[in-house]
Symmetry: C2
Subunit: 161 residues, 2 copies
């Protein structure tokens, strides 16, 4: 019975992988929004857009490609800066009109030099939804917390550190 | 000097929090794409859209609101299903044309009953970008790995478990 469950599971996974690009519903402008997430930390790095060719190149090269709405052309993330995104996984949502790139990011993701494009907080408690967060924790991820700890210790220089 | 750094840091944080909604650049249709991420796991749950009113209600109530393009109206996530999203943080990206809701999700986020809307894999190695993943790891997060471990142990029932 355990074996049957695993076989079924693997079959369903292979079917879902084969859905691929024919399933994507592009908008009237031929584009689909792409959320890019760092695999390791889980941080959302950026939101951009892709046309069919950008998705094809992303899947065939293993490097994140997008379509620039402002420049009207295909671009590979990091083609000039070197801050490439290596694809670990590409996912499609239930409505088939949004794509998730899970990536390993080289250097900062944002053209402003910050690690993610979502650096501006415009609301929320920054921690638990009930506002009872004992510790401010905007990122909520291990690397972010570590970075803050290092920064605050460097500033305060407690004894023994 | 440590104190000065912290003071500056807090000042900059309060400035960025005060930017709020006046900074958001809505599209020609009055909408901005919203990525919704579960705070605890880091999982990307869904992509939807918000108009100004949806963002205002999200910030004032602490519950995620969106604008439905198909129904042409404001909606509160979970208003009928009860699967509400409590806001922990709202962030804006560098171009000010994409929003990130970080939430605590009640029940499944997807209307199909799955935990996230991004259930369909269309490419990638599922793990490391170099394809050398020793273990298949689509989610990459602790809770996902734990769930898979529980499922596989339940199926295989190894001795001593």
């Amino acid at each position: 019975m355990g074996f049957d469950n695993l076989t079924t599971c693997r079959y369903l996974l292979s079917v879902s992988e084969n859905i691929r690009l024919s399933a994507v519903r592009f908008g009237a402008d031929g584009l689909v929004p792409v959320v890019t997430q760092e695999s390791r930390s889980g941080d959302v790095l950026m939101v951009a857009y892709a046309n069919r060719e950008a998705l094809e190149r992303t899947l065939s090269t293993g490097l994140a490609h997008y379509f620039s709405r402002s420049h009207g052309r295909l671009w590979q993330k990091g083609e000039t800066s070197g801050h490439v995104q290596r694809i670990t996984e590409v996912r499609l949502d239930c409505d088939r009109d949004a794509v998730l790139y899970r990536v390993e990011q080289t250097g900062p993701a944002c053209h402003t030099g910050t690690r993610t494009c979502f650096s501006t907080v415009i609301g929320g408690t920054g921690g638990r939804a009930d506002g009872a967060a004992a510790e401010e924790d905007p990122g909520g991820h291990v690397l972010s917390r570590l970075a803050r700890t290092v920064a605050s210790r460097a500033a305060a220089r407690p004894e023994g550190s």
